[in-house]
């Protein structure tokens, strides 16, 4: 156990000494506070834009699905029922395949 600890400490010291030259160089080249602020601001703007885009896509898709469903329900009830059955079967097959894959992986 002691021997193992000794080896571990020896390796830690070797790595520390070996990486020292890399570490010293990086200490001298940290960007300014303004640079970091700009980075954060840019990222926040991008995140907001992404959120707006995703929300728009979600709302458009929801409207499309609702329109199709209400049209089929009131105009063609048989097609509505067929769609319900197809979606149920599709979802069951998808869940089954995903679950089998997960079990095989573990």
């Amino acid at each position: 156990m002691n021997n193992h600890q000794e080896h571990s400490d020896e390796l830690k010291k070797l790595l520390k000494d070996g990486f020292q030259s890399i570490d010293e160089d990086i200490d001298e080249s940290t960007p300014s506070l303004q640079w970091f602020e700009q980075l954060v601001e840019d990222q926040q703007v991008e995140l907001k834009a992404r959120f707006k885009r995703d929300l728009t896509i979600f709302l458009l898709l929801a409207c499309c699905i609702l329109t199709v469903f209400s049209l089929t329900l009131f105009q063609m009830p048989i097609l509505f029922l067929l769609l319900q059955v197809a979606i149920f079967v599709g979802a069951s097959i998808f869940t089954g395949i995903t679950y089998t894959k997960k079990v095989n992986r573990t």
Partner: protein, 179 residues
């Protein structure tokens, strides 16, 4: 201002708090990524990517671990994602080019390209990463397993074999024990 207060303000979207946090942790983050990638450009690029991800995920930080450890876990995931995207063949070639570039950069600054750096550069990234996390940053096998999404037993085996190779490269076992 304390780190906890800065994180609190950052969670509310304060730019300045984020900037102070990042400036404090930037050297630590780039140093870690330099050791892992052996490439300065890639390390700086990944550090920026990590900070961008941190802005997005700051609400998920629960304060249980150190902020620097949380940054390391994001950086490690970004690095692994990047490695997965590249093909293995190209990756190996790129790694050789990276090491040569780093060596040239260091020599041009009259800095020593030492035996440890040379030996570490011969290890593949999946072995170098756990060795650095275990023996330089002091993470446990379980923690490294979580960071790299690898079973702890595999991490232990990789570290073990990596150290044997490292000791061989550095000729540690051949040196007299008294020196």
């Amino acid at each position: 201002m304390e780190e906890r207060d800065l994180i609190k303000r950052a969670k509310k979207g304060n730019h300045e708090a984020f900037a102070i946090l990042f400036q404090e942790h930037y050297p630590f983050l780039v140093k870690y990524l330099m050791k892992v990638t052996m490439n300065r450009d890639q390390a700086e690029e990944l550090a920026q990517d990590t900070m961008a991800k941190c802005v997005e995920k700051i609400h998920q930080y629960n304060g249980k671990s150190k902020f620097s450890s949380w940054l390391i876990s994001i950086a490690t995931n970004r690095y692994i994602d990047l490695q997965r995207k590249k093909k293995r063949e190209q990756n190996w070639q790129n790694e050789e080019v990276n090491v040569r570039k780093l060596k040239w950069e260091m020599e041009s600054r009259n800095e020593e390209w030492n035996d440890v750096l040379a030996a570490m550069s011969t290890l593949s990234e999946d072995i170098r990463l756990p060795i650095i996390l275990k023996h330089y940053y002091g993470y446990s096998y379980e923690e490294i397993g979580q960071l790299t999404e690898t079973p702890p037993g595999t991490v232990k085996s990789r570290v073990h074999h990596g150290i044997i190779r490292l000791r061989k490269e550095l000729k540690i076992d051949e040196q007299p024990s008294g020196t």
